[in-house]
Symmetry: C2
Subunit: 152 residues, 2 copies
DNA sequence: ATAAAGTTGGTCAGTCTGATCAAGCTAGCG
DNA sequence: CGCTAGCTTGATCAGACTGACCAACTTTAT
């Protein structure tokens, strides 16, 4: 993966909101040559610095208005199996291994509190997962964003 | 905000990887009329069902290879001030209010463990924030994704 | 049954894309 | 100091795409 420089970030900034902006418009808006913008866009999308487009979709728009965080403790000899099983659950959006007492921190969504119960049960049933603790999000205080990082 | 139907999801699925795919290609790949794809894309981007494009950028590509979760306890009479202050910190990617003992769960990134220390200190200094506990992510086990939800 | 909303397929002028090239700039290196 | 490698620029071309229309048809909800 590649580190994005100031020009890349300016391009991304200008593409915010509308990723289908014509390259020529971008170029003149940023004071760059068309070829420059074109090659940089090309590079960014092949270098793996961007998530798939669908990561832009708000889960709420897909009928999953309930979000939560599940922390899981696991039998570490089955770590890889557990991860593979989690990957199969579509409601699992993200999973991190934090330093500290919990082994995995899992971000999930669901269509309702009741559905959240189902999802967390599915997680509990993954091989290698010993115990889970689910904490539902009452409110999304700051929605996910990267915008501030583009500037610096 | 609008709930996305099966057609919307198919369009989004086809746009994964390359959001600049020509509309005509999309249309014939999905067996839809060009006008349909065009109007749906239009609707999706104006209805607020999508995050800004820059949310696709991996923080690591912006030099923030370290991720962490900060849980904060706060003086609830200053809730709004605290949130406003957090919003000013670019390294704060996301913030949720969970049910339970912690008041806010904050997703942050930083350029190094040392920088993470700085960021969590900045959070601790926000008005209304009483106590924080930072837990660094050793590993991103499952990177953020929504793909699985598009299908169902 | 009927109205509203969404879909389809067609057309149009104007614009954009991707590819390619030669030339200019800049930084790093011997 | 002069060279190379890697970007950037500006230009050109044929071909494809866009956004805006429209009339007709289908679906959905009332």
């Amino acid at each position: 993966m590649q580190e994005l420089d100031a020009t890349d970030r300016r391009i991304l900034g200008a593409l915010d909101e509308d990723p289908r902006l014509p390259i020529m418009v971008l170029a003149q808006r940023l004071g760059l040559a068309r070829g420059t913008v074109q090659s940089r866009l090309e590079r960014m999308s092949t270098s793996g610095a961007l998530r798939p487009n669908s990561s832009r979709v708000l889960p709420a728009a897909l009928g999953r208005g309930v979000a939560a965080s599940v922390s899981a403790e696991l039998d570490q000899s089955h770590l890889n199996e557990a991860i593979a099983a989690l990957r199969e659950i579509p409601e699992v959006l993200e999973c991190h291994a934090p330093a500290g007492d919990t082994d995995l921190l899992i971000r999930v969504v669901a269509s309702s509190p009741d559905d959240l119960y189902r999802v967390s049960e599915e997680i509990r049933l993954c091989p290698g997962i010993v115990r889970t603790s689910t904490s539902m999000f009452l409110r999304e205080v700051i929605p996910y964003r990267t915008t501030g990082l583009l500037g610096g």
